[in-house]
Structures are given as C-alpha cells and as structure tokens.
Symmetry: C2
Subunit: 235 residues, 2 copies
DNA sequence: ACCTGAACACCGTTCAAGT
DNA sequence: ACCTGAACACCGTTCAAGT
C-alpha cells in the first residue's frame, strides 16, 4: 500500500509524458476556433515545451493568434488556467499502476495558490484515501495525511520546476553543497558533522524516502481532534 | 525534542513580529543613504505591511525614493533580495525557546527557488540537526529529515502567504469545503466517507500534527543509502 | 564608486467597441 | 454571443550617461 501511494504521488512530481496533445499535423491550422478545450490543450503543450513560467495569458494568446482579452471568455484568470492544466495532466496518469518514466517540469506550483477541484484531482484524493484506509489508517489521520502528501508532492514539484527554469540551476546546487561542506566547524558543528549527508542521494531516492516518512508517520501519529466522519460501517 | 523542533519550524511559518525595524520616527527622513542594510530593512517593513507579493524591485525602489536600477548596486536580483529578507526574519527568532505569538504572511516561498545560505538559515539547520541528534536519530536520516522539515515549513508558509494575498481567500477555502462535502458518493466514495475530516482542525493544529508526523517518520524510517558522515565520535 | 533616466521586454486584467 | 484593440497598472533587468 505504501509503495502504491508513493508511486501515485511521485507521478505528480515527475509528470509522465503520456498524453500527447494532438496539435494537428499541419504546421499551423488556419486559426482553430477558440474554446476552453483548445486553450487548455495549447497551454499543456506550452508547459511541456517551455515550462510553467511561460504559460501566461499573453504568451498563450499569442500562441493562439489572438489577444489576451479573448481568453477571458473561457477562463477566469491565470490561476484557474493553471488549475485546468494541472487537472488535464492528472487525467493522463493511472492512479493504481506504476507509472515510472519520463519527466516533466513542475506545474504543481499553482496548486499552492489554487487548490483545484477538478475531477482528476478529486480522483487522486479519493484513491489516496482509499489506499490509506486499506492500510488500516484511521479516517482522520488519512484525511489530514492526504493533505500532507499533496503538499509534499507539490512542494517538490515546484522546486523541481524552478530548478529547471534557471539556467545555472546546477551551479546553485553545487554552491549549496560547497557552502555546507566548508561551513565553520565551531559555528555550525552539527552541519559540519553531517557533512555530505545533507546533499547525498538522488532526487528520486530522497523523494521515495520522503513519502515513506510521511506514510509511516501518518499511520502512526494520532491526532487530538475528534473525527467528524461517520463510524466505519461494514462496507 | 520533537516539541522543540516543531516550535522552531512553526516559527518560520508564523514569523513573529519580534524584530521591529527601526524606520526612524520622523515621517520620512530626508532620503536615507542607500545600502544593503537599509534596502533589506525597508523590504522587511514592506513585507510586514503589504505582503511578499509587494516586495518587488520597483515597489521597493519607490519606497526608497529612487529608481529600481539603483538597487542593483546592492542586490543581484529579486531572488537574492527575498533570500536576504528571509535571513533577516530568521535572525529575529530564538531557536530554542517557544516563540508563539503574532503571525506574519509568508515569505518563505522564495526559498523554493533560492536555497538561501545566510548565517541565520544555517543556524536553523544546525540547531535542527543537533536536536534530532539528541533525539537519537541517525545522522543520514537527520540530514535528509531537515530538508523535509524545511520543505514542509516553506510550503505551509507559502500557502499561508498566498491565502493572505487574495481577498476572497476564505471564500476559496469555503468553496473547497463545499465541493468536498457535496461530492458524489458513487464517484468518490472515500472522499464522501471522510466527510468533514478533510477540512477539520485549525491551521495550527494541522501544522503541529504535520511536524509530529514528519519527526516521527524521520526517526523511524531508514534509508537505503550509506552515510557519508564520519562515525559518531565520543563528543 | 555610486546613482539614475530611460528603455526593453515582458506581465494580468478590464472595457468599450466591434462583428 | 463572441471577439478584440487599446489601455491601465504593473513587473525585472540592463545600460549608457551622469555625479
């Protein structure tokens, strides 16, 4: 069960390239009719091609051969657009089977602002709750825990995305590693003692461990709040 | 030990209003001489008064009665500025004693992009490592764990900040609660069963629980990687 | 050295006016 | 209805020119 959940959330971080958007095979079809669907579809392509920071209203409008104002007929604002894109990506992942290939820069950052309630997002939550339940985790802990897992996933994804954006991202990483390694032993003794451990492991390894930590902790850490769920019936 | 760590990180999320910036008591002193210090100080005030999304180069320059270009003498870019502000705020918190009052909208979001290596940030990491060590947590787990704790803290802070920004933030929350409560029982059975649990508890309660989960999980979840730290000497 | 006006290349969002 | 040009109010960053 734990492994299942881990894989599920890992997919959010490394969104696989499952659902290729059909942009039509012509170079550029003579201006497609605007609709929420084509807007989101083009936004997804833009995300894959150029990263989240490029899926802006203006850029997207340009891609659709129109002005930004036109998009507001189908989409309330940028946050909603990003939410729709997330839900679209979520549609592409199988929630129960290991999906473990490809990588896609973040977009989940927008989730920090707008908790989307698209159908695919709800499906994700539902599946996670079910799995935790199967694992014997009490309802309230499972409920709060899903939130925690999502937060972890989105945070990692955001970091991932950000890192991808900046050209000297690896340099930054290296600088951190260097700073940590050469830190004053008297000023920061514990950091000095931890040494390379602070930056050891691959991203995947750490991600996997993080979810194990969370799932283990969620399963064993009680809350002080009373549950509001109906007592588990025999179902 | 766990409670100590929890409080420490909770302070990042709810940065207390400890270190009031001395903006001088005159209405506006006849243009202070520019320096990194006053820039950061004014940025901190701006943060407290108007939120992170307002501490931009241009807004800050305006506040300092100058043009944005002038700031680039003292600060490399916006990310570095935000990092400096975070470190400044970190300076204001006592890392060992319960600091539990006031609340401050996020800024830690910038940490997602730029892992700051300011002295106060390092002190935070060092203290956390020490506390985990005292709690008997193996070195590697502690090292990876600190990262996780920081991620959780910044993620929560970011969400917090974002929520503060938008005027209809509470509405959004309510909408989510409503969506979750009225969700189709056949489509999303686990969500329906969880009911109010998904949105129960106060922010503080959930935060506290989250850190308990993390600390408990960190302490008990082994890694598959070998440690690179020197074997614990008798010190 | 330090400072800055002006420019370049972007943003989100609204609204009156068009078809 | 649907679409849009133009405007408003912002961004970050650079650079030549000033003191």
């Amino acid at each position: 069960v734990a492994a299942n959940i881990t894989n599920m959330f890992a997919t959010i971080v490394y969104v696989p390239d499952i659902k290729r958007v059909p942009v039509s095979r012509r170079d550029r079809p003579a201006k497609p009719p605007l609709s929420r669907e084509v807007i989101v579809a083009v936004a997804v392509r833009l995300l894959r091609d150029e990263g989240l920071e490029r899926v802006t209203m203006r850029r997207l409008a340009h891609e659709l051969d129109t002005g930004p104002a036109s998009l507001y007929v189908y989409v309330q604002n940028t946050a909603e657009l990003h939410g729709a894109v997330l839900d679209e990506l979520l549609a592409g992942i199988d929630l129960r089977i290991e999906a473990d290939a490809g990588s896609q820069p973040s977009l989940a950052r927008s989730v920090l602002a707008l908790r989307p309630s698209g159908p695919n997002y709800l499906r994700l939550i539902d599946t996670a709750l079910a799995l935790l339940g199967i694992g014997g985790v009490p309802t309230l802990q499972a409920a709060w825990g899903v939130d925690l897992l999502l937060q972890q996933a989105t945070a990692t994804a955001a970091e991932h995305g950000t890192r991808h954006e900046s050209p000297d991202a690896e340099t930054e990483q290296d600088v951190l590693a260097l700073v940590l390694r050469e830190v004053s032993e008297t000023e920061y003794p514990s950091i000095a003692r931890a040494g390379g451990d602070l930056v050891s492991g691959t991203g995947r390894e750490r991600l996997r461990w993080a979810f194990e930590v969370l799932i283990g902790g969620i399963a064993t850490t009680g809350t002080t709040s009373p549950t509001t769920a109906s007592p588990a019936a025999a179902d």
